[in-house]
């Protein structure tokens, strides 16, 4: 029986009347798991919000019919709509860090829905909240009930969010990129919980995602959107294994895949060499004493050869980002040594090392100065190459922009660019001085799938051309599989396993590595295992 039917939905921007969602139709049966797949700007979130009747200001529904559990939403008054939200349809948001109210305790937030929609007593409410917290595997439900959101990590908050939504046993659960902000292991745990809960209560799930791996693992049916229009819909197996439309094929092909082994590992002295590196963050300063510090990196040994790509993988809190920053001497180390071309650069400010090393950031939105034009941004590193004349410098900036596919955009401002274009600028800025060593900290994880593939390809091409060594930090194993020569697995500030890419992916030794690989969302249909084909 159909729970939700959406027919010819059309949503427009209130100003200008451009369609954000155009002629989209789909249905969800009771107990079914539907994935809505699309890149940014595809209208997937707007479509989901229309089902809740909660379009953000600036968007309005101008056409189509949404029938939810036998109620036509167009005719439902706002009072009726409010009664539907909660018991009939619930939503889990993308950002666990901001979707819980920081000023209200977890228990009070969970109880809100029950108080509103069900006539049960206080003790009964509390009992059901505690049961649900235990169900989503929160360690200490009693303490959690009285705690505040800031005391929990992103994964824990997403569980709490899930618990408070599922408390009302909704018939439809809308999950908007619920695990995009989480690391691979946590993502797996949260989604497994979500699917388990949905099955227990007979809840249908509408999962909005850009991750095809999740679609293949969890969804029965999938709907592909692009720029507000439906591209394709069908069973997820059919969509992923035998896509009919060119765009869907492009999405599937954009998944990173393993390239041929490059054998770039060079003998001879390593370019950068780290021994026993430790980084500790000081504890909070109290009135008379300091809290115990946290050691983020705890005794890491690592060699990187010239021109080699070493990937560092691990969950959040594993210390991989700290390791990258410490190796560039952006944060002080508390032990161990860093050698660059055999020279100790651990404590001395070594100009040669500073000028030969670079960093590419995760977030393309905050890594570019909003008040500088692209040309100025890319030219800035050349300030420290004094022998260049102004003319030569401008030519080099122009050539570099052309190299990353942004020819002629030197006069543009960062805010005029898309995320992918911004990341290209950041890469251009890192490469323009022809560094010997580049740390790339999750360089593609903030980008759309097809853009990710382009940027990774660009990065590989530039690396082949300029021959810099790279420390590639990522939680995305698929991207790592595509670019890395060697892989280092970190957990709790230490390296638990390292080896060549093929060894790590095909013959993992350590339990943590095995868990990471098992949690990685990959397409696993026989015969179409796109991401995991070896060699």
């Amino acid at each position: 029986m159909t729970l939700l039917a959406v027919d010819n939905l059309r949503i427009e921007a209130a100003s200008g009347g451009t369609a954000v969602v155009d002629d989209v139709s789909f249905a969800i049966e009771r107990g079914e798991f539907l994935a809505v797949v699309g890149e940014s700007g595809s209208g997937k979130t707007a479509a989901a919000r229309a089902v809740l009747g909660l379009l953000p200001p600036g968007l309005r529904k101008v056409g189509g019919r949404i029938v939810l559990d036998g109620v036509d939403l167009a005719t439902a008054a706002s009072r009726r709509m409010r009664a539907l939200r909660g018991p009939t349809v619930g939503m889990v948001f993308q950002e666990p860090m901001v979707s819980l109210n920081p000023a209200i305790s977890v228990g009070a937030q969970m109880a809100e829905g029950l108080r509103l929609h069900e006539r049960i007593g206080k003790s009964e409410i509390k009992r059901r909240c505690l049961d649900m917290l235990a169900r989503v595997q929160i360690r200490d439900p009693d303490r959690t009930y009285d705690a505040y959101p800031h005391e929990f990590s992103g994964g824990m908050r997403q569980r709490i969010m899930l618990a408070s939504v599922m408390l009302l046993k909704p018939k439809l659960l809308i999950a908007d990129e619920p695990t995009t902000a989480l690391d691979t292991l946590t993502q797996r745990e949260v989604l497994d919980l979500m699917v388990g809960l949905a099955r227990d209560h007979g809840t249908s799930v509408m999962l909005i995602t850009h991750n095809l791996g999740l679609v293949s693992r969890y969804a029965q049916r999938a709907l592909v959107l692009r720029q507000g229009r439906m591209v394709e819909s069908g069973t997820s197996r059919q969509i992923l294994a035998a896509p009919r439309e060119a765009y869907t094929r492009q999405l599937v092909e954009a998944l990173p895949r393993r390239g041929a082994a490059t054998g770039r590992r060079q003998s001879g002295d390593p370019l950068v060499s780290v021994r026993g590196l430790k980084v500790a963050f000081a504890g909070r300063q109290r009135l008379f004493r300091r809290d115990a510090g946290v050691s983020a990196v705890n005794g890491v040994d690592l060699d990187i050869g010239a021109g080699e790509t070493v990937a560092v993988v691990g969950g959040s809190g594993s210390g991989k980002t700290t390791l990258g920053r410490a190796m560039l001497r952006l944060i002080p180390t508390s032990g161990g040594e860093i050698r660059f071309r055999g020279k100790d650069v651990t404590t001395t400010a070594d100009r040669e090392f500073r000028l030969a090393s670079q960093l590419v950031f995760q977030d393309p939105y905050s890594s570019l100065d909003p008040r500088m034009r692209l040309g100025e941004i890319v030219a800035e590193p050349l300030r420290h190459v004094p022998e260049l004349t102004v003319g030569e410098r401008d030519r080099r900036v122009e050539a570099m922009l052309e190299e990353v596919g942004l020819a002629g955009l030197a006069r543009r401002w960062p805010h005029e660019l898309s995320g992918g274009q911004r990341q290209r600028v950041a890469i251009a800025r890192a490469i323009v001085r022809q560094p010997a060593f580049v740390v790339a900290d999750e360089p593609v994880s903030a980008l759309d799938m097809t853009i990710q593939a382009q940027v990774l390809k660009l990065f590989e091409r530039l690396q082949a051309q300029y021959g810099f060594a790279c420390l590639f930090i990522s939680h995305d194993l698929a991207a790592v599989e595509q670019v890395a020569d060697r892989v280092v697995v970190m957990q709790g500030g230490q390296i638990v396993e390292q080896g060549s890419r093929d060894d790590i992916f095909d013959r993992p030794q350590h339990d943590y590595t095995k868990a990471l690989l098992a949690a990685a969302p990959v397409l696993d249909f026989a015969g179409t295992a796109v991401a995991r084909v070896s060699g």
Binding site: L328, L330, R351, R354, L355, S357, Q358, L359, F361, D363, S366, S367, L368, D369, P370, R371, E380, P381, R383, H384, W413, H415, A426, R429, R433
Partner: protein
């Protein structure tokens, strides 16, 4: 469209103000200081457009001369407060550590006093004249600028483009001037325009207490203060300088807003 109307109105008001101030340097209808006791408290007429005050001095002439004095005082005061506040706030927010703690402790102590009280104390030390007034009001408004700038800088210094600047090999001082300061301008620009208003009012308040620019030299502030006893019998005495202050504030605020939008590449279109 609305933005352009704002710019036009703001620009017109500020131009009018500057024009008046400059004209007054060469010509006024009457001598603003000449006392004519036979023409005391005349209401506005074809001879005295804005009437006369209790000593028979022409209000229009005095308002015109006062424009110059008030504008120079406000402008210099705001400039002093913003320049010093920017430097101190940036240093505190960017360097952090003990520098920050000491600066902010002093700053918060100063903020605890009402600005006018602080200015009063300084005036008593420096003396009641134009320079003293500028110094006093400037010092009194530095702490609020420091607060705003520091807060903004704190959030900017964590942005990745600051780290990028460090990786490039730029010095800390260069990063601060080239990347932090320009991005901290927007909130300061807003503060500057509203501060212009506070200073105009504070100047009149100090005059009211007898600590402003000493009579007989006219400023809008001391004219307003002197008009108080005649509020009911000769309303034009307070309306003229009061309206001048209000229109100046309006003009400066409108112009400030459009200036801020124009300075921000994200808001400027074409």
């Amino acid at each position: 469209m609305r933005l352009r109307a704002n710019t036009a109105i703001g620009g017109a008001l500020v131009t009018l103000l500057l024009g008046t101030a400059i004209t007054a340097m060469f010509w006024t209808p009457f001598d603003p200081l000449r006392i004519n006791l036979r023409a005391r408290l005349q209401p506005p007429s074809s001879l005295y457009w804005l009437g006369t005050d209790e000593f028979g001095r022409d209000v229009l002439s005095r308002v015109m001369v006062g424009a110059g004095a008030s504008v120079v005082i406000s402008l210099l005061t705001v400039l002093l407060a913003v320049a010093a506040g920017m430097a101190i706030g940036c240093a505190a927010g960017y360097i952090r550590g003990w520098t920050d703690r000491i600066i902010m402790a002093v700053n918060d102590a100063l903020l605890a006093f009402p600005g006018i009280l602080l200015a009063l104390a300084v005036m008593i030390v420096v003396g009641a004249n134009k320079v003293g007034l500028i110094l006093a009001l400037g010092l009194a408004y530095i702490p609020s600028v420091v607060r705003v700038v520091r807060g903004t800088v704190l959030s900017i210094r964590e942005k990745e483009y600051i780290e990028a600047s460090r990786v490039i090999g730029n010095s800390e001082a260069y990063s601060m001037i080239r990347h932090v300061m320009p991005n901290a301008i927007a909130p300061v620009a807003v503060l500057t325009t509203s501060m212009f208003g506070w200073v105009l009012l504070a100047e009149s308040a100090l005059s009211f207490l007898g600590l402003g620019v000493p009579p007989p030299a006219p400023t809008w502030g001391n004219m307003l203060a002197a008009s108080r006893p005649f509020m009911e019998t000769a309303a034009w005495l307070s309306i003229a300088p009061g309206l001048c202050i209000a229109l100046t504030l309006l003009g400066v605020n409108l112009l400030g807003d459009s200036l801020r939008d124009r300075l921000d590449p994200r808001m400027a279109h074409g």
